[in-house]
Symmetry: C3
Subunit: 465 residues, 3 copies
């Protein structure tokens, strides 16, 4: 089912170059500096439950497409906020299989086919006809030692895997992994959204917990900042090399101290005025950049997603259910306060992501091609696809070069898709380099060197791994 | 003049696949669910007058290009608002022929060449030298029975053709077609812009007429809505399966009933406050979606065109004279009120169009890839072109899939260009599928199935034909 | 090092067509209607000082990339505002050579390699290893008569070269060139930013100087306009055929006379209110268009760059140091006042540029495809690259055609890069035309004609050369 030459351009000369390049990177270790896998999997190393819970229910790429074509989320067994989950896993799998044709032309299909064939030896296309056969074959293998999380981690040749963790997290799973003596390198990432975004569900509770776990008095601006510094140090001590920030916009601010303190008071006491929530997030991005200058944690910014856009789905099923929709995102004016303060710092690495690909050639590549601190994250989310990745290279390289980019992120909670995602990225990068070589815009030796850099060297450097 | 392999990629493997795919769709019937042909042509079935009135004067794609290069619209015989029309048709045709080189690289050229060769047997390129020869050959054929509107309709193998009709239209032409016994299927489409946009020329008169034709009292909000419901039912009874909405933006609103009623009062009495016109249109989109949930009419939204941008041209020549210019268009925040109210309704089909192609990957594909109601209209207007269509498939497919798109719309008032337009769309879709196949991203059997779906199945389903 | 077929597509049929097209345009004269070379070079005809001052220090494309990767601008010898310049030229060159790999995949690399090989016979790739060898070879040649500015001008086969000059400039260098009897055609371009943008450094001084050089009383609106008219006439008398306007946005205005006069009073006396600076620039664009209708000077508009974005760099090193970042740019609403007043004038040529490539298909091509006055400038700045140029042709041609574009601008202060830049543009245009021909969208004869038009005819016409 999987063709060895997939994703390479059809033109024979270019294809042959792409193949040669790919041969030199296909077996390099996977470095996954940003994602959403659950550290508990590796701490406990228990079998994954069943095909539906593994492939379908946690992956909003999968069920949003089914939902868009009239499949009810209840029939897929998506867990509800009220704790109910109304579907038999095998029945849900059949619904999925029957609609598998919907994924034609999508990256989800590439990732799933890769896992079906390479991990489970299933070489037919999934359909209504073979749904039960797939289910049983997968279920059977999941019960074997070779399919335990740690075994898969090793089989996938993962050199390092970063998770994303709340600022108040105890990191006990990460500690348990370390304490177990297992050599797999699983690192936490500091994600403070829930204590920075005053509209985040449970924000006041989160602040309280931040005070508790840090031992700082978060009722004042200085105490709040000290608490965050303390948590960053804790994460760093537990292996973290990066922070991550998910904001609605890229807005930053650099308020005078007294004004920032007053703003925090209103936020802390819940007496917000119009614009306070946004301004506080803006100020906090600059504060976080300042802390990165101090402690050296690489800073990642993921702006531009309107979260929980479909109210009915959000109320019934909660966050991350396929209803986050990108929105036009401006970077130049938004980032100016932060960049004017810290943009020239040699010790800052600020990785910018976008869901608005118009920003690549217009704003992001010019910024990355000037500021020592700014680097471009790989195509994110809906853009993490063959066409999206190719457009990224085409739009960004001429202005930012290759060396202001940072390799690939799989950014996934679907553990089994990780090798497939890195494989797609390597193939597309090789296809791009092959075209540059075929058009005599790079030398042979350079193209091979850049392929290595894009696959392992740039990510190691940017994330200090 | 027309090469059999035109628009297929040059790379031989991909080209051969494209050809094979195209062979299976080239002769499928034309389904035209959205356009601007005149139903009177098919009701009366009289000969088209002359080449200039057929090809030049109604087609703003043609004369806007000539105008942009200094050709005066008067010299082309474009009808003026004062009733004058200052050009001899043959002279106008010569001006057109002399400037035909301006269309190099444009879709207009593809459409015209197709019609010249396939309908009139003219296999040279139009130029100053052969202008008269073309004129005479076309004029001669137009006088024959084979070139009457109904004969062409049948020769074009049109399965169904939708027109666009004002909400207050009597649909007498459509009734006459039906009454004639002719079997051609020509359907109306409900377009209420002129009774929804308070800045539309003659808006107050239009409202009055809406009251008359519906028998409802449009002086109240409930009466106005009842009048629209009544007209929709009338359109549906006369064959309509869809509505169409041309708005400056995609803004929607969901006002409380009392507030909506007060807003309508201000609109109805002409006592608008700042923002009322836009807010009323926004509210009406949501109302129309609600009516679509009730009556099942497919809803089309065409936002983002700044109409009548060139005041001097508008004042002398009126609407639709090539001076409508697209503008950046936001969908996510704009559509939220409507989608929160009706977006999850199984009975709603909302087809979104755009002139701002940045929205395809950023906003529209993610929305279509989640909401059961949302589908993506084909590339519209300036994007209805080989490059535009290809970019649409490249940008939208990975997130929305093929099955949240709705086939092709020719959207034209140039009847003779319809086969050419559908042919271009089929060729480009086959070229796109051929690449996916050549890059092993689709199976052979799948590609052939998708080609059929894109050509006839998806449009039939989306427009309930 | 330079392959004869570079930048042509790999597919053999298309490549062969591209080569044939390119052979017919490669040796056509260079027409450079917009750029930033120093007329003093040609007036004085003195040797260029050394490789570092020639290639590195004036070219912000080069040093912004080095800076983005942590190379300090001081170490490159970039001149500082305080007059210091802290680097030995040979040392700076070594830093540059050591980091030359950063330019892989960028147009800067294409331009530099071209100059190294074609002008200096250096056929290796620049690196740390051969840095001194390059330095010496270049320095040696720069001292020879063949490398004097005028000799290079002739060797480059430049038919005409336009510089960009402040409105108050005496044009003495241009006069000296003319007086010298040398036949090279070097023309000034009228650039009034410094007397139109009230936030421009030294604005009040500039106004004063404007009054002096024109002999007009600039304390009144009418006097100010008369002074500008006078300067335009002076530029025209000295060979200028165009004006150029660099604005933050494309905003235009058409204020009543009295209001414009009051606005100018506030600007002139430095008593600006909020919005005055922007509104004055907006009004001045319309005034300048009106003067172009009178005097026939072609008007160029370059909007959308946020200048001097990095405050620390600006304060130490001044303007044009690689820290100008593009920003989303709207044209449709912004240009309406100007276009409603002058857009239909046969005597106006308004060339629009953009750094926001989303505007090409959405706004700029539709405007150029309608208004007789509007033409599309070539891809500008970060878009002046193989990928950027190709996307421009793909996005703009179908709506604007070829004939509403104006050929290529090199827009450079790097004199030695001029032949390389024009060569890249010719190659990319030929590659685009080759694809249209291979896909049977153009005839053979047409493609050859268009190639000539894109290279020399359109630029001569648009700039009245």
């Amino acid at each position: 089912m999987l063709d060895a030459k997939r994703l390479f351009p059809a033109e024979p000369t270019t294809r042959a170059i792409a193949e040669r390049l790919y041969e030199t990177v296909r077996n390099l270790p996977i470095i996954s500096p940003h994602g959403h896998t659950d550290p508990r999997w590796f701490a406990e190393n228990r079998p994954f439950p069943n095909p539906t819970e593994l492939f379908l229910q946690p992956d909003h790429y999968v069920f949003r497409m089914l939902y868009s074509q009239g499949v009810r989320m209840e029939s897929l067994g998506i867990p509800q906020e009220d704790g109910k989950q109304n579907a038999n896993p095998r029945e849900a799998w059949r619904v999925f299989a029957r609609h598998y044709y919907l994924f034609r032309g999508t990256p989800t299909r590439l990732w799933l086919d890769y896992a079906f064939e390479n991990l489970f030896g299933l070489t037919e296309r999934l359909s209504a006809d073979n749904a039960d056969e797939f289910y049983e074959a997968i279920a059977k293998k999941l019960a074997t030692p070779e399919f335990l999380p740690r075994a898969l981690f090793e089989r996938f040749n993962i050199e390092v895997l970063a998770t994303t963790d709340a600022a108040v997290d105890s990191l006990e799973q990460h500690k348990a992994i370390k304490a177990s003596g297992w050599k797999g390198r699983v690192l936490p990432t500091f994600r403070p959204d829930a204590v920075v975004d005053a509209e985040y569900l449970g924000f006041q509770e989160n602040l309280k917990k931040l005070g508790e776990v840090s031992g700082e008095d978060v009722s004042s601006w200085t105490g709040y900042l000290a608490a965050l510094r303390s948590r960053r140090a804790y994460f760093k001590a537990n292996g973290a090399t990066a922070t991550d920030h998910g904001h609605l916009t890229a807005l930053t601010a650099d308020l005078p101290l007294a004004e920032a303190a007053r703003l925090y008071q209103r936020i802390y006491t819940g007496k917000m005025q119009a614009g306070d929530v946004e301004m506080f997030q803006a100020q906090m991005l600059t504060e976080m950049a300042g802390m990165s200058v101090e402690d050296g944690l690489t800073m990642q910014l993921h702006p531009g997603s309107v979260r929980n856009y479909n109210t009915a789905v959000y109320e019934k099923f909660g966050r991350d259910k396929g209803a986050d929709i990108p929105s036009p995102t401006e970077y130049v004016r938004a980032l100016r306060p932060l960049l004017n303060k810290y943009g020239n710092e040699p010790n800052l690495t600020l990785i910018l992501f976008t869901l608005d690909e118009t920003a690549f050639s217009r704003e992001l590549a010019p910024m990355a091609g000037h500021f020592p601190s700014v680097k471009l994250g790989p195509p994110w989310w809906f853009l993490d696809s063959p066409e999206g990745m190719m457009r990224f290279r085409e739009a960004a390289t001429e202005t930012a070069g290759f060396y202001n980019t940072v390799g690939f992120n799989d950014d996934t909670r679907a553990f089994l898709s990780i090798p497939a995602r890195h494989d797609v990225a390597r193939r597309v990068d090789c296809a791009f380099l092959a075209r540059l070589l075929a058009e005599r815009r790079l030398d042979e030796a350079e193209a091979f060197e850049v392929a290595q850099d894009l696959t392992v060297n740039l990510v190691r450097k940017a994330y200090k791994l």
